[in-house]
């Protein structure tokens, strides 16, 4: 039987607020263990939470950016369970009345198609600390509570996702959005953007859901995709064997590329959610929402659309450029300083991304600034250098950080665009290659390319290619036979 995979994703994104959600401690990553703690986030007896309103602003931002309803009144709830990294033995979260509901994210697929993935809810909560287990000769476990109380947004999607490709596209777009909004680093490897996947399968065409497994421990987009594909295969195999899929939580094992059962439905925690009596219901005024709306930046989908219309870029190129707003900004700086935006896009997507990927750095760390790349492209447009020379100039810009004009000057790379200078060189090429000249004359006109190449080589690549073509057509003898095309 053919099955359809049904996927819903739960994403936790860590917010970049200065202080924690319910106390004044810093959220900075990487401090010595337990140095960013106070009685509140240590869960000392008698302490009370005080809401950091900046967290609410972040949640409103994401809610508006994903077309959610921002609820004017929402509640805090306690999620109760015991674990050493959870100081109060409950996590302050939202349960019955989350801050945002009923939104969507539009994700671009490889095919160029756009899929709309519904959002069930977005809610605010506090992060837990971390258990640290001792090294081989140390049988102690330690608790670091620096992360306890760092604000999180949990974004729960509808089961609208049908493949690992869609899941990846959704996650990438969601990550772009939180980064555009400046509310989160969105870094999966560092744990500031975490994902759990609910995966089930059903016969193609069915409209009832199958039993789902929740897969945890997915630390990269690749793991998410692999785990979904594995889970779909595993469940199909079970059904093929006449067995049932059980509702359970499973852990992804990266090394083995498999999921393993962690706990069954029966063993699932009863979190005993109830409204937190230490916090009053959160009332959000219309003014607050509107003030946040006024600060929203242009979002990926809108920017992508604008790049297509304003710069005439192919949708795929636009999609790649807007994945990071830093890359998009870089492109716009270059495009604004040169004649042809399309050429700017080609350089950014081609040469620049190749270098960044090779160096393993982001566009913010690029060794070539947008203004410098624009200056290089302008040299091409002014016909000072050829596109080919420009590529080697770009390599030197990466290596030395020098301005393109300086490199062109120092290395004598200025394009030869003077016909009187080129004619003797072309004549010399003819003299050096009598056989080819004869063949051309005999009708083998395909040899035009050979003469262009020889002339370019003779000028060290500095000749203006258009001019070389024009001069060659003037100077080459008229073929005596029709082109053989062979």
């Amino acid at each position: 039987m053919e099955y359809e995979t049904v996927i819903g994703l739960e994403v936790h994104t860590q917010l970049k607020t200065k202080s924690k959600i319910f106390c004044g401690c810093s959220t900075t990553f990487g401090a010595p263990p337990n140095s960013h703690t106070c009685p509140v986030c240590l869960g000392m007896p008698g302490v009370l939470p005080v809401l950091n309103r900046e967290v609410v602003t972040c949640a409103i931002k994401l809610g508006l950016a994903t077309r959610c309803t921002v609820n004017r009144s929402s509640r805090w709830a306690r999620k109760n369970y015991f674990y050493p990294d959870l100081p109060k033995a409950y996590q302050i979260s939202q349960y019955e009345a989350p801050i945002c509901e009923h939104g969507y994210v539009e994700a671009d697929l490889e095919s160029g198609e756009t899929r709309r993935i519904g959002l069930t809810r977005i809610h605010m909560e506090e992060d837990a600390g971390k258990n640290v287990h001792g090294a081989a000769d140390d049988d102690h476990s330690y608790v670091d509570l620096n992360r306890a109380g760092v604000p999180l947004l949990e974004i729960v999607s509808e089961p609208d996702i049908r493949s690992s490709e869609e899941a990846t596209a959704y996650l990438k777009r969601l990550r772009s959005i939180v980064r555009y909004l400046g509310i989160s680093d969105g870094n999966m490897e560092e744990g500031s953007f975490r994902c759990d996947a609910n995966v089930s399968i059903r016969p193609m065409g069915s409209d009832t859901f199958g039993t789902r497994a929740e897969v945890k421990n997915l630390n990269s987009f690749r793991h998410v995709a692999h785990a979904i594909d594995y889970e779909a295969r595993r469940q199909a195999r079970l059904l093929a064997q006449g067995k049932e899929v059980v509702q359970e939580t499973r852990l992804w094992n990266t090394a083995e590329g498999k999921t393993y059962s962690m706990r069954s439905k029966e063993e699932a925690h009863d979190y005993r959610y109830f409204p937190d009596p230490d916090l009053v219901p959160l009332e959000i005024s219309e003014q607050w929402i509107e003030a946040v709306r006024a600060t929203l930046p242009e979002l990926p989908a809108d920017k992508e659309q604008r790049f297509v219309v304003e710069y005439g870029l192919p949708p795929q190129d636009a999609a790649t450029l807007v994945a990071s707003h830093h890359l998009a900004d870089y492109f716009e700086t270059v495009a604004g300083a040169v004649k042809e935006a399309k050429r700017a896009a080609n350089w950014v997507l081609g040469e620049l991304l190749a270098v960044l990927n090779k160096l393993g750095i982001s566009v913010e760390e690029s060794p070539v600034e947008a203004a410098a790349l624009a200056a290089l492209i302008r040299l091409i447009e002014e016909e000072t250098i050829s596109g080919k020379i420009a590529k080697s100039v770009f390599e030197k810009m990466v290596a030395t950080g020098k301005a393109p004009a300086a490199i062109v000057e120092e290395e004598g790379l200025v394009q030869v665009a003077d016909p009187e200078a080129l004619r003797p060189i072309i004549q010399q090429v003819f003299d050096d290659n009598p056989t080819q000249l004869a063949q051309y004359q005999a009708g083998k006109t395909k040899l035009m390319g050979f003469f262009v190449g020889q002339t370019m080589r003779a000028t060290g690549g500095k000749a203006n290619p258009a001019l070389v073509n024009k001069l060659l057509r003037e100077m080459l003898p008229e073929p005596t036979a029709p082109a053989d095309g062979g």
């Binding site: 240590l42 000392m44 007896p45 008698g46 809401l51 015991f82 100081p87 005993r272 009596p277």
Partner: protein, 486 residues
């Protein structure tokens, strides 16, 4: 220096006046209380922890400083219930689990006491985590009623009430969740005020039931309660449930007229099970107020019968969550175990007393999946009905007068094995807590055997000033607190 033990018999305001006038020093007052503690503490056991050395040092410092104007409690020795965090001083909540606990921070009220210049004599004994009505549930042993050492002082603030009644301090702070200030005040023959929920910050009060807990004064008369409440009341930005309501001058408001007021008498509070001596004393108090020009009207609080059940669902549900943090990981007495679960189980098994365990189990059950709606959910709904009862009653009268407890103080051990009967000793105080209203218990004489009797006045939200003025007027008729024969 020989302590003048008569100084310990002073009221708080008498001592304040004498200190202000320079007639007596803080050291003299503190030494008098310490001497009185030495004298009677062996039989009363009102203190969980005495902080005599710190208190004497603090008194000396107060005498040396004397700012102008003199803060309201300058140099006055008082006792603080053992669930109110005092930096560096034991705060054990009458529990074995916190036997070694000294907070690293001061509660809001402890800071207010410090600013007002008070001297902390020690931490008053209490039922473990404020769960109890007799002060017998303390890991440190029971407190005895100063009026009859065979009888309980009430609870959970039994230590605070007994210390005030026995003149071991000039006044005390207690906490009230379902009657824990009012019932012991009644049993020990002192004034005990539970403020409106939100009137006094809960910051630093070790939580039992967060939506009910309030700190309040236990004092020798109404003026003392006004003085102490004035110091601890007010908005605290660190407690989200703290009210922004302005704090009136309670002492100045004491002279307000009784004449013209309408006192509601809830008929449901005078049914079966009410001890005749208690009823007689309340009826006599009604007569006194009528003689002062008040009129009385019978009112109805129809959901009174559901109050105890509602309270024991709401309070235990919150407690089951609030007490989760006592896991032996970060503070408190940890019992080692073979694995993490074993550490949790042994720490809590050893650390908590029977009543605390009973309530944690009850609350955990009330919040469990499948039971939440039937228990916690229903209790919250009834809580609203109870609030509405009071709102309706206050449409007919200015305040309510009821018994504080159904019986005079009972014998130690009498109800210890019968939790349900014990729970019923709070029957007249619980509904007030559920409604978040202010109420005061004040002495109305004694039984023939010399056991204290009391009555309760219940006011509208933030009407503490009127309640204290009423008690003050009653005292002015010559009916002050009974003095123990200790």
């Amino acid at each position: 220096m020989a302590a003048d033990s008569d100084l310990a018999r002073l009221t708080l305001h008498e001592a304040r006046d004498r200190v202000t006038a320079g007639e007596v020093t803080s050291a003299e007052l503190t030494e008098a209380c310490v001497a009185r503690i030495e004298e009677v503490e062996g039989s009363v056991h009102a203190f969980a922890h005495r902080t005599t050395d710190e208190a004497l040092a603090q008194a000396a410092a107060r005498d040396a400083a004397r700012p102008d104007p003199l803060p309201p409690l300058w140099g006055l020795p008082i006792a603080v219930k053992d669930n109110i965090c005092t930096q560096g001083l034991p705060t054990t909540c009458g529990s074995k689990l916190l036997a070694n606990f000294r907070p690293v921070y001061d509660s809001f009220v402890a800071r207010r006491l410090e600013e007002a210049g008070a001297v902390i004599l020690g931490k008053a004994n209490m039922d473990e985590f404020a769960m109890g009505s007799s002060c017998e549930n303390s890991a440190l042993g029971p407190t005895h009623n100063p009026h009859d050492l065979e009888r309980v002082p009430g609870g959970s603030s039994g230590g605070s009430a007994a210390a005030v009644a026995a003149d071991e301090c000039l006044a005390a702070l207690g906490s009230d969740t379902g009657g824990s200030i009012r019932q012991p005040a009644c049993f020990c023959g002192v004034v005990g005020l539970k403020p409106t929920y939100g009137r006094v910050s809960r910051n630093g009060l070790v939580a039992f039931a967060s939506s009910l807990d309030q700190i309040g004064p236990l004092t020798k008369d109404a003026r003392d309660a006004a003085l102490l409440l004035g110091v601890i009341a007010g908005h605290d930005p660190d407690d989200s449930t703290s009210a922004c309501q302005p704090v009136p001058n309670y002492e100045a408001a004491l002279e307000a007229e009784v004449a013209g007021l309408t006192i509601g008498i809830p008929k449901e509070y005078f049914g079966g099970g009410l001890d005749p001596a208690v009823e007689e004393a309340v009826r006599a108090a009604i007569a006194t107020y009528e003689s002062l020009g008040a009129t009385t009207v019978e009112v109805s609080l129809p959901h009174t019968e559901q109050a105890v059940a509602t309270y024991y669902l709401v309070a235990t549900a919150e407690a089951s969550s609030n007490l989760g943090r006592f896991d032996g990981i970060r503070y408190g007495v940890r019992q080692e175990g073979k694995d993490l679960l074993d550490v949790y189980k042994r720490t809590r098994e050893e650390g908590f007393g029977a009543e605390v365990k009973r309530r944690i189990m009850l609350g955990t059950f009330a919040l469990s999946a499948g039971y939440y709606d039937a228990y916690y959910g229903k209790a919250m709904a009834v809580r609203t009905l109870i609030r509405n009862d009071f709102d309706a009653a206050f449409g007919q009268c200015d305040l309510l007068l009821t018994p504080t407890a159904p019986t005079p103080p009972f014998r130690l051990g009498e109800k210890l094995d019968d939790p349900l009967t014990m729970y019923l000793s709070d029957i007249f105080t619980i509904a007030v807590s559920l409604a978040g209203l202010p109420a005061v218990s004040f002495p109305t004489g004694t039984t023939a055997a010399g056991l204290p009797l009391g009555a309760q006045l219940i006011g509208r939200h933030f009407d503490e000033a009127r309640l204290l003025a009423m008690v003050h007027a009653f005292e002015a008729t010559g009916q002050g607190r009974p003095l123990p024969a200790l």
